[in-house]
Point group: C2
Chain length 242, copies 2
Protein backbone atom coordinates (compact mmCIF):
# COMPACT_ATOMS: atom_id res chain seq x y z
CA UNK A 1 0.00 0.00 0.00
CA UNK A 2 1.42 3.38 -0.90
CA UNK A 3 1.38 6.13 1.69
CA UNK A 4 1.69 9.85 1.34
CA UNK A 5 3.66 12.36 3.36
CA UNK A 6 3.76 16.12 3.51
CA UNK A 7 6.69 18.32 4.41
CA UNK A 8 7.27 22.03 4.78
CA UNK A 9 10.41 23.16 2.95
CA UNK A 10 12.00 26.42 4.03
CA UNK A 11 13.09 27.50 0.55
CA UNK A 12 11.16 28.35 -2.62
CA UNK A 13 9.96 25.33 -4.62
CA UNK A 14 9.89 25.32 -8.42
CA UNK A 15 9.50 22.35 -10.74
CA UNK A 16 12.75 20.44 -11.48
CA UNK A 17 14.62 22.02 -8.58
CA UNK A 18 16.70 19.59 -6.51
CA UNK A 19 17.26 20.28 -2.84
CA UNK A 20 18.25 18.57 0.40
CA UNK A 21 15.89 17.82 3.28
CA UNK A 22 16.90 18.82 6.80
CA UNK A 23 18.44 16.16 9.02
CA UNK A 24 15.18 15.84 10.96
CA UNK A 25 13.18 15.40 7.79
CA UNK A 26 15.66 12.83 6.43
CA UNK A 27 15.44 10.90 9.68
CA UNK A 28 11.65 11.10 9.65
CA UNK A 29 11.33 9.77 6.10
CA UNK A 30 13.98 7.10 6.45
CA UNK A 31 13.50 5.79 9.97
CA UNK A 32 10.10 6.89 11.23
CA UNK A 33 7.72 6.45 8.31
CA UNK A 34 10.12 4.33 6.22
CA UNK A 35 9.50 6.04 2.90
CA UNK A 36 9.69 3.85 -0.20
CA UNK A 37 9.60 4.94 -3.87
CA UNK A 38 5.98 3.78 -4.03
CA UNK A 39 5.02 6.50 -1.58
CA UNK A 40 4.06 10.04 -2.41
CA UNK A 41 5.83 13.04 -1.00
CA UNK A 42 4.14 16.44 -1.13
CA UNK A 43 6.04 19.56 -0.18
CA UNK A 44 4.96 23.16 0.36
CA UNK A 45 7.04 26.28 0.89
CA UNK A 46 4.65 28.87 2.33
CA UNK A 47 4.72 30.90 -0.88
CA UNK A 48 4.35 28.87 -4.09
CA UNK A 49 1.86 26.17 -3.14
CA UNK A 50 2.27 22.40 -2.92
CA UNK A 51 4.33 20.17 -5.18
CA UNK A 52 4.74 16.45 -5.67
CA UNK A 53 8.40 15.56 -5.10
CA UNK A 54 10.65 12.58 -5.78
CA UNK A 55 13.33 11.38 -3.44
CA UNK A 56 16.34 11.21 -5.77
CA UNK A 57 19.03 10.36 -3.25
CA UNK A 58 18.77 8.86 0.22
CA UNK A 59 22.07 8.22 1.94
CA UNK A 60 23.17 8.15 5.55
CA UNK A 61 24.33 11.71 5.17
CA UNK A 62 21.43 13.34 3.36
CA UNK A 63 18.20 13.05 1.42
CA UNK A 64 17.83 14.90 -1.85
CA UNK A 65 14.44 15.56 -3.37
CA UNK A 66 13.46 16.82 -6.78
CA UNK A 67 10.38 18.97 -7.26
CA UNK A 68 7.88 17.71 -9.81
CA UNK A 69 4.48 19.18 -10.71
CA UNK A 70 2.43 21.57 -8.63
CA UNK A 71 -0.46 19.86 -6.86
CA UNK A 72 -2.05 22.87 -5.12
CA UNK A 73 -1.80 26.62 -5.64
CA UNK A 74 -0.65 28.75 -2.73
CA UNK A 75 -3.55 29.71 -0.50
CA UNK A 76 -3.26 32.07 2.46
CA UNK A 77 -5.63 31.40 5.34
CA UNK A 78 -8.15 34.15 6.17
CA UNK A 79 -6.82 37.22 7.97
CA UNK A 80 -7.70 36.03 11.47
CA UNK A 81 -5.25 36.47 14.35
CA UNK A 82 -5.21 34.60 17.62
CA UNK A 83 -4.00 36.35 20.78
CA UNK A 84 -3.57 33.78 23.53
CA UNK A 85 -1.98 33.72 26.97
CA UNK A 86 0.58 30.93 27.21
CA UNK A 87 -0.61 27.99 29.31
CA UNK A 88 1.06 24.88 30.63
CA UNK A 89 3.24 23.13 28.08
CA UNK A 90 0.80 20.56 26.70
CA UNK A 91 -2.07 23.03 26.61
CA UNK A 92 0.00 25.54 24.69
CA UNK A 93 1.01 22.80 22.24
CA UNK A 94 -2.67 22.16 21.82
CA UNK A 95 -3.48 25.82 21.20
CA UNK A 96 -0.80 26.12 18.52
CA UNK A 97 -1.87 22.90 16.84
CA UNK A 98 -5.58 23.79 16.84
CA UNK A 99 -5.02 27.40 15.76
CA UNK A 100 -3.03 26.08 12.79
CA UNK A 101 -5.64 23.47 11.83
CA UNK A 102 -8.44 26.01 12.24
CA UNK A 103 -6.80 28.33 9.75
CA UNK A 104 -5.32 31.12 11.84
CA UNK A 105 -3.03 33.43 9.90
CA UNK A 106 -1.11 34.91 12.84
CA UNK A 107 -0.58 33.68 16.38
CA UNK A 108 0.43 36.21 19.06
CA UNK A 109 1.37 35.09 22.57
CA UNK A 110 0.29 37.80 25.01
CA UNK A 111 1.08 38.20 28.68
CA UNK A 112 -1.92 39.30 30.68
CA UNK A 113 -2.02 40.06 34.39
CA UNK A 114 -3.04 36.52 35.39
CA UNK A 115 -0.85 34.70 32.87
CA UNK A 116 1.34 32.47 34.98
CA UNK A 117 3.38 30.71 32.37
CA UNK A 118 6.97 31.82 32.56
CA UNK A 119 8.56 29.92 29.72
CA UNK A 120 7.57 30.95 26.23
CA UNK A 121 9.39 29.00 23.57
CA UNK A 122 8.70 30.49 20.18
CA UNK A 123 10.93 27.87 18.50
CA UNK A 124 8.78 25.13 19.97
CA UNK A 125 5.58 26.91 18.89
CA UNK A 126 6.95 27.13 15.34
CA UNK A 127 7.81 23.44 15.24
CA UNK A 128 4.30 22.59 16.46
CA UNK A 129 2.66 24.79 13.88
CA UNK A 130 4.74 23.35 11.03
CA UNK A 131 3.76 19.83 12.04
CA UNK A 132 0.08 20.82 12.19
CA UNK A 133 0.27 22.64 8.83
CA UNK A 134 1.83 19.56 7.22
CA UNK A 135 -0.90 17.38 8.64
CA UNK A 136 -3.93 19.56 7.83
CA UNK A 137 -2.69 20.29 4.28
CA UNK A 138 -2.21 24.02 4.56
CA UNK A 139 0.06 25.56 1.95
CA UNK A 140 0.90 28.47 4.25
CA UNK A 141 2.24 28.63 7.78
CA UNK A 142 0.82 30.77 10.55
CA UNK A 143 3.10 33.62 11.49
CA UNK A 144 4.09 33.36 15.14
CA UNK A 145 4.98 36.65 16.78
CA UNK A 146 7.22 37.34 19.76
CA UNK A 147 5.36 37.57 23.09
CA UNK A 148 4.19 40.99 24.26
CA UNK A 149 2.39 42.34 27.27
CA UNK A 150 -1.33 42.51 26.56
CA UNK A 151 -1.57 46.16 27.59
CA UNK A 152 1.37 47.09 25.33
CA UNK A 153 -0.19 45.29 22.41
CA UNK A 154 -3.49 47.08 22.93
CA UNK A 155 -1.71 50.45 23.01
CA UNK A 156 -0.22 49.96 19.56
CA UNK A 157 -3.23 48.18 18.04
CA UNK A 158 -4.22 48.96 14.44
CA UNK A 159 -7.76 50.12 15.15
CA UNK A 160 -9.02 48.94 11.75
CA UNK A 161 -8.70 45.36 13.02
CA UNK A 162 -11.63 44.17 15.15
CA UNK A 163 -10.55 42.44 18.35
CA UNK A 164 -13.05 40.00 19.85
CA UNK A 165 -12.29 39.09 23.42
CA UNK A 166 -14.06 36.10 24.91
CA UNK A 167 -15.73 37.34 28.07
CA UNK A 168 -16.47 34.77 30.77
CA UNK A 169 -18.49 37.23 32.84
CA UNK A 170 -21.49 36.63 30.51
CA UNK A 171 -21.98 40.40 30.34
CA UNK A 172 -21.12 40.57 26.65
CA UNK A 173 -23.19 39.83 23.55
CA UNK A 174 -23.40 36.32 22.12
CA UNK A 175 -20.57 35.81 19.64
CA UNK A 176 -23.18 34.87 17.03
CA UNK A 177 -24.76 38.33 17.12
CA UNK A 178 -21.39 40.02 16.65
CA UNK A 179 -20.41 37.68 13.80
CA UNK A 180 -23.70 38.34 12.02
CA UNK A 181 -22.77 42.04 11.84
CA UNK A 182 -19.16 41.35 10.91
CA UNK A 183 -18.15 43.06 7.69
CA UNK A 184 -14.48 43.43 8.51
CA UNK A 185 -12.17 40.71 7.34
CA UNK A 186 -9.28 41.91 9.48
CA UNK A 187 -10.07 40.30 12.78
CA UNK A 188 -8.40 39.02 15.93
CA UNK A 189 -9.62 36.80 18.73
CA UNK A 190 -8.29 37.21 22.27
CA UNK A 191 -8.61 34.41 24.81
CA UNK A 192 -7.72 35.12 28.44
CA UNK A 193 -5.64 32.85 30.66
CA UNK A 194 -7.06 30.19 33.03
CA UNK A 195 -7.74 32.83 35.67
CA UNK A 196 -9.60 35.09 33.24
CA UNK A 197 -8.91 38.76 32.63
CA UNK A 198 -8.26 41.09 35.56
CA UNK A 199 -10.78 43.80 36.41
CA UNK A 200 -8.32 46.35 35.07
CA UNK A 201 -7.99 44.51 31.76
CA UNK A 202 -11.75 44.08 31.36
CA UNK A 203 -12.31 47.77 32.04
CA UNK A 204 -9.66 48.69 29.50
CA UNK A 205 -10.99 46.27 26.86
CA UNK A 206 -14.50 47.62 27.27
CA UNK A 207 -13.39 51.17 26.49
CA UNK A 208 -11.42 50.37 23.35
CA UNK A 209 -13.42 51.16 20.19
CA UNK A 210 -11.95 48.25 18.22
CA UNK A 211 -12.55 45.65 20.97
CA UNK A 212 -15.80 43.72 21.34
CA UNK A 213 -16.62 41.35 24.19
CA UNK A 214 -18.29 38.10 23.19
CA UNK A 215 -19.79 35.18 25.11
CA UNK A 216 -19.63 31.54 24.11
CA UNK A 217 -22.66 30.14 25.92
CA UNK A 218 -23.48 29.47 29.55
CA UNK A 219 -20.68 27.03 30.39
CA UNK A 220 -17.21 28.10 31.45
CA UNK A 221 -14.78 26.92 28.79
CA UNK A 222 -11.16 26.13 29.49
CA UNK A 223 -8.83 28.55 27.70
CA UNK A 224 -7.78 26.00 25.07
CA UNK A 225 -11.40 25.01 24.43
CA UNK A 226 -12.31 28.65 23.96
CA UNK A 227 -9.52 28.97 21.37
CA UNK A 228 -10.88 26.10 19.29
CA UNK A 229 -14.50 27.19 19.77
CA UNK A 230 -14.00 30.87 18.90
CA UNK A 231 -11.88 30.14 15.83
CA UNK A 232 -14.39 27.55 14.59
CA UNK A 233 -17.29 29.99 15.02
CA UNK A 234 -15.43 32.73 13.20
CA UNK A 235 -14.43 30.45 10.31
CA UNK A 236 -18.01 29.17 10.04
CA UNK A 237 -19.58 32.59 9.61
CA UNK A 238 -16.88 35.04 8.53
CA UNK A 239 -14.01 32.83 7.33
CA UNK A 240 -13.41 30.18 4.69
CA UNK A 241 -15.86 27.51 5.86
CA UNK A 242 -18.70 29.06 3.83
CA UNK B 1 -8.09 34.04 49.86
CA UNK B 2 -11.14 31.85 49.65
CA UNK B 3 -11.46 29.36 46.86
CA UNK B 4 -14.45 27.56 45.47
CA UNK B 5 -14.87 23.96 44.45
CA UNK B 6 -17.56 22.05 42.61
CA UNK B 7 -18.48 18.40 43.01
CA UNK B 8 -20.95 16.06 41.40
CA UNK B 9 -22.93 14.07 44.00
CA UNK B 10 -24.55 10.85 42.87
CA UNK B 11 -27.66 11.21 45.03
CA UNK B 12 -30.49 13.77 45.11
CA UNK B 13 -29.64 17.02 46.88
CA UNK B 14 -32.21 18.91 48.95
CA UNK B 15 -31.58 21.71 51.44
CA UNK B 16 -30.57 20.57 54.97
CA UNK B 17 -29.72 17.04 53.82
CA UNK B 18 -26.47 15.64 55.24
CA UNK B 19 -24.51 13.14 53.20
CA UNK B 20 -21.03 11.65 52.88
CA UNK B 21 -18.61 12.35 50.06
CA UNK B 22 -16.94 9.45 48.26
CA UNK B 23 -13.42 8.50 49.35
CA UNK B 24 -11.99 10.14 46.24
CA UNK B 25 -13.86 13.37 46.88
CA UNK B 26 -12.80 13.38 50.55
CA UNK B 27 -9.19 12.87 49.51
CA UNK B 28 -9.47 15.61 46.88
CA UNK B 29 -10.91 18.18 49.30
CA UNK B 30 -8.61 17.30 52.17
CA UNK B 31 -5.28 16.57 50.50
CA UNK B 32 -5.34 17.96 46.99
CA UNK B 33 -7.06 21.33 47.25
CA UNK B 34 -6.81 21.56 51.07
CA UNK B 35 -10.33 22.80 51.67
CA UNK B 36 -10.80 25.19 54.61
CA UNK B 37 -14.09 26.51 56.06
CA UNK B 38 -13.43 29.82 54.27
CA UNK B 39 -13.83 28.08 50.94
CA UNK B 40 -17.05 27.52 49.07
CA UNK B 41 -18.25 24.12 48.03
CA UNK B 42 -20.90 23.84 45.32
CA UNK B 43 -22.49 20.51 44.54
CA UNK B 44 -24.84 19.35 41.78
CA UNK B 45 -26.71 16.11 41.38
CA UNK B 46 -27.72 15.96 37.69
CA UNK B 47 -31.39 16.48 38.58
CA UNK B 48 -32.06 19.26 41.10
CA UNK B 49 -29.51 21.92 40.22
CA UNK B 50 -26.57 23.29 42.17
CA UNK B 51 -26.36 23.90 45.93
CA UNK B 52 -23.95 25.57 48.26
CA UNK B 53 -22.80 23.00 50.83
CA UNK B 54 -20.99 23.07 54.17
CA UNK B 55 -18.43 20.52 55.20
CA UNK B 56 -19.78 19.50 58.61
CA UNK B 57 -17.37 16.69 59.41
CA UNK B 58 -13.94 15.94 58.02
CA UNK B 59 -12.19 12.96 59.59
CA UNK B 60 -9.68 10.45 58.32
CA UNK B 61 -12.53 8.11 57.59
CA UNK B 62 -15.06 10.34 55.89
CA UNK B 63 -16.25 13.79 54.95
CA UNK B 64 -19.85 14.78 55.64
CA UNK B 65 -21.45 17.70 53.90
CA UNK B 66 -24.71 19.48 54.54
CA UNK B 67 -26.73 20.98 51.72
CA UNK B 68 -27.58 24.67 52.09
CA UNK B 69 -29.37 26.91 49.60
CA UNK B 70 -29.80 26.31 45.90
CA UNK B 71 -27.43 28.41 43.78
CA UNK B 72 -28.53 27.31 40.30
CA UNK B 73 -31.64 25.62 38.95
CA UNK B 74 -31.22 22.36 37.07
CA UNK B 75 -30.52 22.99 33.41
CA UNK B 76 -30.26 20.25 30.80
CA UNK B 77 -27.88 20.93 27.91
CA UNK B 78 -29.42 21.10 24.42
CA UNK B 79 -30.43 17.82 22.82
CA UNK B 80 -27.24 17.34 20.85
CA UNK B 81 -25.55 13.95 20.66
CA UNK B 82 -21.97 13.21 19.75
CA UNK B 83 -21.11 9.97 17.94
CA UNK B 84 -17.34 9.51 17.91
CA UNK B 85 -14.93 6.71 17.08
CA UNK B 86 -12.62 6.01 20.03
CA UNK B 87 -9.07 7.25 19.47
CA UNK B 88 -5.83 6.83 21.37
CA UNK B 89 -6.19 7.27 25.12
CA UNK B 90 -5.30 10.95 25.49
CA UNK B 91 -7.26 11.97 22.41
CA UNK B 92 -10.34 10.18 23.66
CA UNK B 93 -9.95 11.92 27.04
CA UNK B 94 -9.86 15.15 25.11
CA UNK B 95 -13.00 14.32 23.15
CA UNK B 96 -14.95 13.49 26.30
CA UNK B 97 -13.74 16.61 28.09
CA UNK B 98 -14.50 18.94 25.16
CA UNK B 99 -17.89 17.35 24.40
CA UNK B 100 -18.85 17.92 28.04
CA UNK B 101 -17.65 21.53 28.09
CA UNK B 102 -19.32 22.21 24.76
CA UNK B 103 -22.67 21.11 26.14
CA UNK B 104 -23.27 17.70 24.60
CA UNK B 105 -26.22 15.86 26.11
CA UNK B 106 -25.30 12.33 25.04
CA UNK B 107 -21.98 10.80 23.99
CA UNK B 108 -22.03 7.58 21.97
CA UNK B 109 -18.80 5.73 21.16
CA UNK B 110 -19.21 4.06 17.76
CA UNK B 111 -17.01 1.53 16.04
CA UNK B 112 -16.57 2.25 12.37
CA UNK B 113 -14.64 0.18 9.85
CA UNK B 114 -11.38 2.11 10.30
CA UNK B 115 -11.65 2.55 14.08
CA UNK B 116 -8.50 0.96 15.42
CA UNK B 117 -8.90 1.56 19.12
CA UNK B 118 -9.46 -1.72 20.89
CA UNK B 119 -9.94 -0.64 24.49
CA UNK B 120 -13.09 1.31 25.27
CA UNK B 121 -13.39 2.16 28.93
CA UNK B 122 -16.79 3.61 29.64
CA UNK B 123 -15.91 4.02 33.35
CA UNK B 124 -12.96 6.18 32.42
CA UNK B 125 -15.09 8.22 30.01
CA UNK B 126 -17.60 8.81 32.80
CA UNK B 127 -14.93 9.96 35.24
CA UNK B 128 -13.57 12.36 32.60
CA UNK B 129 -17.00 13.80 31.87
CA UNK B 130 -17.78 14.29 35.58
CA UNK B 131 -14.54 16.21 36.04
CA UNK B 132 -15.28 18.39 33.01
CA UNK B 133 -18.88 19.01 34.14
CA UNK B 134 -17.64 20.07 37.59
CA UNK B 135 -15.17 22.44 36.00
CA UNK B 136 -17.41 24.04 33.37
CA UNK B 137 -20.30 24.48 35.84
CA UNK B 138 -22.85 22.24 34.20
CA UNK B 139 -25.68 21.10 36.45
CA UNK B 140 -26.25 18.00 34.31
CA UNK B 141 -23.94 15.24 33.15
CA UNK B 142 -23.71 13.95 29.62
CA UNK B 143 -25.11 10.46 29.24
CA UNK B 144 -22.42 8.10 27.99
CA UNK B 145 -23.73 5.11 26.08
CA UNK B 146 -22.16 1.70 25.58
CA UNK B 147 -20.16 1.36 22.36
CA UNK B 148 -21.93 0.05 19.27
CA UNK B 149 -20.96 -0.71 15.71
CA UNK B 150 -21.69 2.31 13.53
CA UNK B 151 -23.71 0.28 11.03
CA UNK B 152 -25.82 -1.25 13.82
CA UNK B 153 -26.49 2.16 15.29
CA UNK B 154 -27.58 3.51 11.91
CA UNK B 155 -29.97 0.56 11.44
CA UNK B 156 -31.87 1.37 14.63
CA UNK B 157 -31.67 5.17 14.30
CA UNK B 158 -34.70 7.26 15.27
CA UNK B 159 -35.19 9.00 11.94
CA UNK B 160 -36.64 12.11 13.59
CA UNK B 161 -33.13 12.95 14.82
CA UNK B 162 -30.91 14.65 12.23
CA UNK B 163 -27.44 13.11 11.98
CA UNK B 164 -24.72 15.40 10.63
CA UNK B 165 -21.62 13.53 9.58
CA UNK B 166 -18.45 15.51 9.00
CA UNK B 167 -17.30 14.64 5.51
CA UNK B 168 -13.61 15.07 4.73
CA UNK B 169 -14.08 14.42 1.01
CA UNK B 170 -15.30 18.04 0.61
CA UNK B 171 -18.24 16.72 -1.45
CA UNK B 172 -20.81 17.82 1.12
CA UNK B 173 -22.41 21.18 1.83
CA UNK B 174 -20.78 23.68 4.20
CA UNK B 175 -21.97 23.03 7.75
CA UNK B 176 -23.11 26.66 7.90
CA UNK B 177 -25.66 26.14 5.11
CA UNK B 178 -27.13 23.10 6.84
CA UNK B 179 -27.29 24.83 10.22
CA UNK B 180 -29.06 27.81 8.69
CA UNK B 181 -31.89 25.49 7.63
CA UNK B 182 -31.91 23.58 10.91
CA UNK B 183 -35.32 23.58 12.56
CA UNK B 184 -34.93 20.30 14.39
CA UNK B 185 -33.61 20.43 17.91
CA UNK B 186 -32.96 16.71 18.08
CA UNK B 187 -29.58 16.45 16.47
CA UNK B 188 -26.47 14.30 16.43
CA UNK B 189 -22.99 14.88 15.11
CA UNK B 190 -20.87 12.00 13.82
CA UNK B 191 -17.10 12.33 13.54
CA UNK B 192 -15.17 9.58 11.77
CA UNK B 193 -11.91 8.02 12.99
CA UNK B 194 -8.40 9.20 12.01
CA UNK B 195 -8.59 7.17 8.79
CA UNK B 196 -11.96 8.66 7.81
CA UNK B 197 -15.07 6.73 6.84
CA UNK B 198 -14.80 3.75 4.50
CA UNK B 199 -16.32 3.92 1.01
CA UNK B 200 -19.03 1.56 2.20
CA UNK B 201 -19.88 3.78 5.17
CA UNK B 202 -19.96 6.95 3.07
CA UNK B 203 -22.25 5.31 0.53
CA UNK B 204 -24.55 4.14 3.30
CA UNK B 205 -24.58 7.53 5.06
CA UNK B 206 -25.40 9.29 1.79
CA UNK B 207 -28.51 7.18 1.27
CA UNK B 208 -29.99 7.62 4.76
CA UNK B 209 -32.75 10.26 4.81
CA UNK B 210 -31.87 11.50 8.30
CA UNK B 211 -28.12 11.82 7.61
CA UNK B 212 -26.54 14.96 6.15
CA UNK B 213 -22.91 15.29 5.14
CA UNK B 214 -21.22 18.55 6.16
CA UNK B 215 -17.82 20.09 5.48
CA UNK B 216 -15.79 22.18 7.90
CA UNK B 217 -13.64 24.17 5.54
CA UNK B 218 -10.72 23.35 3.26
CA UNK B 219 -8.24 22.04 5.86
CA UNK B 220 -8.23 18.45 7.07
CA UNK B 221 -9.07 18.50 10.77
CA UNK B 222 -7.90 15.85 13.19
CA UNK B 223 -10.81 13.85 14.59
CA UNK B 224 -10.67 15.54 18.00
CA UNK B 225 -10.48 19.00 16.41
CA UNK B 226 -13.52 18.18 14.29
CA UNK B 227 -15.42 17.21 17.47
CA UNK B 228 -14.74 20.58 19.12
CA UNK B 229 -15.34 22.52 15.88
CA UNK B 230 -18.62 20.84 14.93
CA UNK B 231 -20.08 21.09 18.44
CA UNK B 232 -19.08 24.77 18.69
CA UNK B 233 -20.68 25.56 15.33
CA UNK B 234 -23.87 23.77 16.29
CA UNK B 235 -24.10 25.51 19.67
CA UNK B 236 -23.45 28.88 18.04
CA UNK B 237 -26.31 28.63 15.57
CA UNK B 238 -28.77 26.03 16.82
CA UNK B 239 -27.85 25.50 20.49
CA UNK B 240 -27.67 27.59 23.63
CA UNK B 241 -24.98 30.09 22.63
CA UNK B 242 -27.59 32.43 21.10
Amino acid sequence: MSKSFRLYIAEPLTPKKTLPLTDEQSHYLKNVVKYTPNDKLYCFDNQNGEFLCDVVEQTKKQTLIQVKEQTKPFYACPDIWLLFCPLKKDKTDFVIEKATELGCRTILPVISQYTNCTSIKIERYMAQSIEAAEQCRRTDLPLIEQPQKLTDMLKSWDSSRTLYFMDETLESAPFFDLLQQEKNHKTAILIGPEGGFSEHELTLLRTLPFAKGATLGPRILRAETAVAAALSCWQLIAGDWR
